[in-house]
Symmetry: D2
Subunit: 339 residues, 4 copies
C-alpha cells in the first residue's frame, strides 16, 4: 500500500522513540518541570535565537490553538482567520466554544494578506461588532500553500499597527520552514505566538507552543490547567522534543517530507494531472473524475474531498517516511488510469 | 531515594511499552478508529460485562472530567461535589470555565453520602439557583478514602430519583477496585459515566471514559473535538489500554500499589505515626512536626500539605513500582526521627 | 423634521403609557408574577389560540435572542442563520459568547428557504463540525423582506425532519403580520419559539418570548435569571403588553406602520427612486448618490448604509407615528434633488 | 396591608414618572446617546466630584453585576466574594456562566474585611487555582449590614496591593449612603467600579454603572451589546436618572427609607423582638416562632427565610414610601402576638 493518507499514521521517528525509552526510571518530576522538558526548551530557544520566549508543550493541534488564541481575549474580543482556516472548518467550533467569534476572510489560496486584512478591519468600527484582537494564520495552510517571510511580515506590521496579536498555527511548521524562505530564527520577529508541531513531524504526540509577546505569557500555565491540557508525565513530551531539536532532526524530517512532495509533484506534472492548488508543500491536491477514484484506492491511501458532481479533489500527503517506491507506485497507477 | 511522591513519575509499565512498540509500521488510522483502540475497548467491555457502553480514550484526568461533566449540561444546570473534590481545588476552575457552577458539600472524609446529598438538594428549589444535574464523586477520593458498593449505590439511587447523572472520576480506579468491595463488573450498575485511569496506573498517559447512560453518548465525539481532546495518533492510546486490559494487568497493578500501601500503613502504625486520614488506599496522609520534615526529605520523596503552624500533613503515595526496600527505608528514617 | 430614523424613537403609545400609569399603588408582586403580566399573557394566548404556550417578557431584542437561542443548546450544538441576520451582524457576537457557533447561509434577500437550508445541512455530517440544532429567521428580515406562511412552513418541515428548533425573531412581528399572509394564530404551527416585539411597536421596552415546544420551556426562568434578564418590576412590562394585546392595539400599530410604508413606497416609485430591496414592510431601502445625501438630511432623519464609492443605501423606517406630512415632506425634498 | 415585602413594589417616584412623561415627542436618539442620558450623567459626575468616570445605565441588578464583573476578566481569572453575597446565592450562577469561578469567604455579618481577604488570598499561589482578579462587595450587604468608609478603604488598599479590582454592588447604595459615614463623593476613592441602584430607590428600572478605573472602561459598550444589556429607548432610563440626580432626590429617598427603618427598629426593640442581624439599614431581620407567622401575615407583607425547625427569619424592608401607619400597624400586630 502506498500511504499518502496523512503525516501522522506511524508511531514516531526512531530517535524520538529512543529518547522516550530513556525515561524508564521513576522519580521524574511531573507536569513539564522535568529535565528533559528543560533541555528541549533550551534547544528550541537556541534555534530561535531567543532566550526570552516561553515554551509550553501541548498534546495536540486543536488544544494548542485553543490555548494560544483564547488565553488573552476579553469577552467582547474576537479572531480574524481565513475562511479555509483549520479553526474554522475542522475544530467543531472550538474557538466559538471559548465565547469568541471568528470573523472570516475569503481567500483564493488559503492565505491572508496585508490588503485582505486591512480591508476586513474596516468592518469593526462600531459597538455592533466584536473588537478584533488576534489574527490566525497557519504555516503551511489548509490548502498546502506557504507564506513567504515578506508576506507574514506585512501581515504582522498591520497587526502591530492595529493592536492585534498574530498567531501562526505551526502544526506543519517543519515542512513550512523547508518550503519557504523563512528561517526558524525569523519566527520570533514576525508574530507574537506560534507552534512548532510535533505530531505531524515524527513525534508520538505534542506541539511546542512558543510565546514571544510578554503580554501573552501572563499566567498561561493556569489557563493550560483549566483547559485540561497540562500533561501529567510531561517528561515524555519533553523527551520527544529533545530528540527532535537537540540536533536538528525536526528540520531534517520536514525537509525529507518536502523533498518527497516535490518529487511527487514533478511526476504528477509529467503525466498532466490537474492540480487543485499549486503544489508547494507536503499536501498535494489534485482533481480526479469520480469513476477513476475507486481503482486508485486499491493500492493507494489518500483523502477525498468534494469538488463537483463529476470530480473530487484527492489529497496526497507526504511525510519523512514516504519513499520513492510509494511515489512510483502511485504514479504508475495514475498512468494506468489514463490508458 | 525512596519515591512516594505520586503514582505517575515513571514512563510506564514494560508491557505497555512493549505494546506501543508494536505500532512501528505506518498506515495506522487516526483519532481512535484503529484496531488497537477497538481491541482495547472490546477487552474493557468484556471486563465490565457490558457490550453497550461507549468508550473513549482521553489524554488526562482534567480533560476527562471536563468532557464527562459538561458534555450534556444546559447553561442553567450545575454540578454537586464534595468540597475536597479534585474538580474543586485542583483544576483551576475548569468546570466553571465551561459555564457551570459547582455546588459544594462539606465532608469529613472526602466522601458524599445519600444523606449529605439529599440534604443539599433542598437548596435548589427556586429560580435563584442553578438546577443540579450531575453529581461528581471519585474513587478513590482526594483524601485516599474509598467508597463501598453500598455507599455508591445509595448515592446513585438518589440521583436516579432526582434526575441527576452520577459521574465517578476513576483517575485511581485501579486502586479503588483493589481497596473496595466493588468489582469492575459492578461499575455500570452504580453510575451513569466513569473513568478508568491509566496515567496513575502504568500507562504513559490516558484515561478511558466509559459512558453507560444512553443520553450521555449523544455526539460526544463532536464535543471531544471541540475541546481539543481527540488524540491524533489514537492508536498509541489504544495500544496502551490494550496492554492494560487484555489480560488483567490493570487490576494487578492496582492491587500491587494497594498491597504496598497496606504494608506501609502497618509499619507506620507500629511506630505510632499519627494518620491524618484512615489509611485505606495508595495515598497515605500522616501528620508531622515541621522541624522533622527537612531531615526526612533527604532520602524520601513525598508531598507536603498545610495543617497548622507547628505541623504539616505528609502524603505518601505507593504505586505498582513501589518496593519493600523503599518502605523499610522510609520507616527507618521515621524511627530515627523519634530517637 | 421628517423622522424615518427607526421605529423606536418615542416614549410609547398613549394607551401603553396610560396602562403603566395605573400601577401607581405599591404592593405589586415582582419578577413577572403580577396580575398585569398574567392578564397580558392570557390575552396573547387568546390571540394565538393556544393556551399551552409559555410566555416570558424580556427587556429587549438581543437578550430575547440570547435566551431563545441558547437556553437549550448543548456545548457542541450550533445555530444556522442568514448571513444578513441580526444576530450575525448587529449583536456583537452575542451568540458566540454563549459558546455556540453560528453557521451562515448566503441569501439575496435576507430570507432562508427550504432548499438553502437543506443544502447547507449537508455540511454537518462529521465530528469536525458542530451539530446544528436551531435555525434562526426573523419576520420581518434585516432587509425589510417578509416570509409567507408557505415559506416558513417549508423551513419548519425541514427543521422537524432534521431535529432542529425553528426560532422566529419577531422584533418587527407586528409589521410582519400586517405585511404577510400569516395570521397571529398561525405562529404556533410554523415554529417552536418566537418573539412578539414591543420595543419597535409602541412599548417603552419589552419583547414577549413565546415558547411553543415543550422541550424549550424546561427551567427557562432559571436561565433568564442567570443572564440577568428578569425584570424586577415585571408589572410594568406586564402593563405594557396588556395595553398592546387586550384589544388588538398591537396589530393596529403594525398595520398603521405598514400602511405608511406602502404609501411611502408608492410615492417613491412615482419619482423613479431606485430601491435596493423590494419595499414590502416598514423598512424601505433606496440607493442614492453620495452628493445628494447631505441636503436630504436637512429636514429628514434616516439611516445611511454603505453601497459603493459613489452611492449609499438610505433606510427609511415608518412607524405607527409616521404621518402623511412627513412622507410628503420627504418626497418633495427628493423631487427637489432631481431638478 | 402594611407593605414590608421589598423596596421595588411600586411603579416609581412621582418625579421620575413626571420626567419620563416629558419624552413624549419622537425623534429621540437611541441606545443612551440622548440628551436626557447626557444630562443625568453630568449630574451624577457632579455629585461624585469626578468628571472622568464612565457611566452606563443598565436595566437591572444582575445584568449590572455581570457587566461590571466579567467585562475585564481573562478566562483563568476569578472573583472573590462573601458566601452570603448576592452573586453567590441569588443570581443562578450568573458569574460562573461567564466562565469565572467565584471563590468564597465565610463571614458572620455578610461583610468582607482586610484580614479575611488577606487570609483568603494565601490560597491562590499555584497553577491549580484561578488567579483572583476582582473582589465583590455590596453596600448595603445581603444581611442589611453596612460598611464604613474605613472598612472599604482597607479592603481597597489590599486590592491595590494585589492587583485586584474592587467592585461595589450598589443596588441599595442610596440607603447605604444614608446609613454609613460614606459620602457619594467618596465612592471614586475607595473602589474601581460601582453601581448606583435605581430599581430599589424610586425608579421604574435601572442601575447606573460607574467605572472609575481606566482599564475597565475599554470597549465596555461592545460588551454591553454582546450581553443584550443596551436599552433601545435609553432616553427613558436617562430621564429617570435625571429625575433622581438633578436635585438630590436619589439621596432623599434613601434617607427616607432609612429613617423609616430606624423608626421600625426602635419600635421592635421596645417590644423585645429578637433581631437576627443588627438593624442598621432598610432591611431588618427578626426571628419568629413558626406558629406566630401566619397570623402576622394577615395584615403585613414580608419575606420569610429559614432558620430552624421551630423558628424562621422574617425580613422587613422599608422604602421611601413606607409610612408610620404601616410601622405602627406592624408593631401592634406583633404586640398582639405576645399576649
Amino acid at each position: 500500500m502506498n500511504i499518502f493518507l496523512n503525516d501522522y499514521n506511524d508511531l514516531c521517528h526512531e530517535n524520538v522513540y529512543q529518547k522516550v525509552s530513556e525515561v524508564q526510571e521513576k522519580g521524574n518530576i511531573g507536569y513539564g518541570f522535568d529535565e528533559y522538558s528543560e533541555k528541549a526548551k533550551r534547544c528550541i530557544k537556541r534555534d530561535l535565537e531567543n532566550k526570552d520566549v516561553q515554551i509550553e508543550f501541548l498534546a495536540g493541534g486543536t488544544i494548542a490553538n485553543i490555548i494560544a488564541i483564547s488565553a488573552n481575549l476579553l469577552p467582547y474580543e474576537g479572531v480574524i482567520a481565513a475562511k479555509s482556516g483549520h479553526i474554522v472548518g475542522h475544530e467543531t467550533g472550538s474557538i466559538e466554544a471559548t465565547g469568541h467569534k471568528v470573523e472570516l476572510i475569503e481567500t483564493s489560496d488559503g492565505k491572508l494578506s496585508k490588503d485582505l486584512l486591512l480591508n476586513r478591519l474596516k468592518d469593526f468600527t462600531d459597538e455592533y461588532h466584536i473588537v478584533p484582537k488576534l489574527v490566525y494564520i497557519s504555516q503551511t495552510t489548509e490548502l498546502g500553500t506557504v507564506y513567504s517571510y515578506e508576506e507574514i511580515k506585512e501581515i504582522y506590521d498591520v497587526c502591530l499597527e492595529y493592536g492585534l496579536y498574530l498567531y501562526i498555527d505551526g502544526a506543519r511548521m517543519a515542512v513550512g520552514l523547508a518550503a519557504s524562505d523563512i528561517e526558524v530564527s525569523d519566527l520570533c520577529d514576525i508574530c507574537d505566538i506560534f507552534t512548532l508541531g510535533g505530531t505531524k513531524n515524527g513525534a508520538m504526540f505534542g506541539e511546542a507552543l512558543v510565546i514571544v509577546e510578554e503580554e501573552l505569557k501572563h499566567n498561561l500555565r493556569n489557563f493550560m490547567r483549566q483547559r485540561g491540557s497540562v500533561i501529567a508525565k510531561g517528561f515524555i513530551t519533553g523527551a520527544q522534543f529533545l530528540a527532535l531539536f537537540e540536533d536538528g532532526l525536526y528540520y531534517e524530517l520536514g525537509k525529507k517530507a518536502n523533498d518527497m512532495s516535490i518529487k511527487l509533484a514533478e511526476e504528477l506534472e509529467k503525466i498532466n494531472i490537474k492540480f487543485n492548488q499549486e503544489p508547494v508543500s507536503n499536501q498535494i491536491f489534485i482533481e480526479m473524475p469520480i469513476e477513476k477514484i475507486k481503482p486508485l484506492e486499491e493500492n493507494n491511501a489518500f483523502e477525498i474531498q468534494p469538488l463537483s458532481d463529476s470530480e473530487k479533489v484527492l489529497r496526497f500527503v507526504t511525510s519523512y517516511r514516504t519513499n520513492e517506491e510509494e511515489i512510483n507506485g502511485l504514479i504508475s497507477d495514475l498512468k494506468a488510469l489514463e490508458d
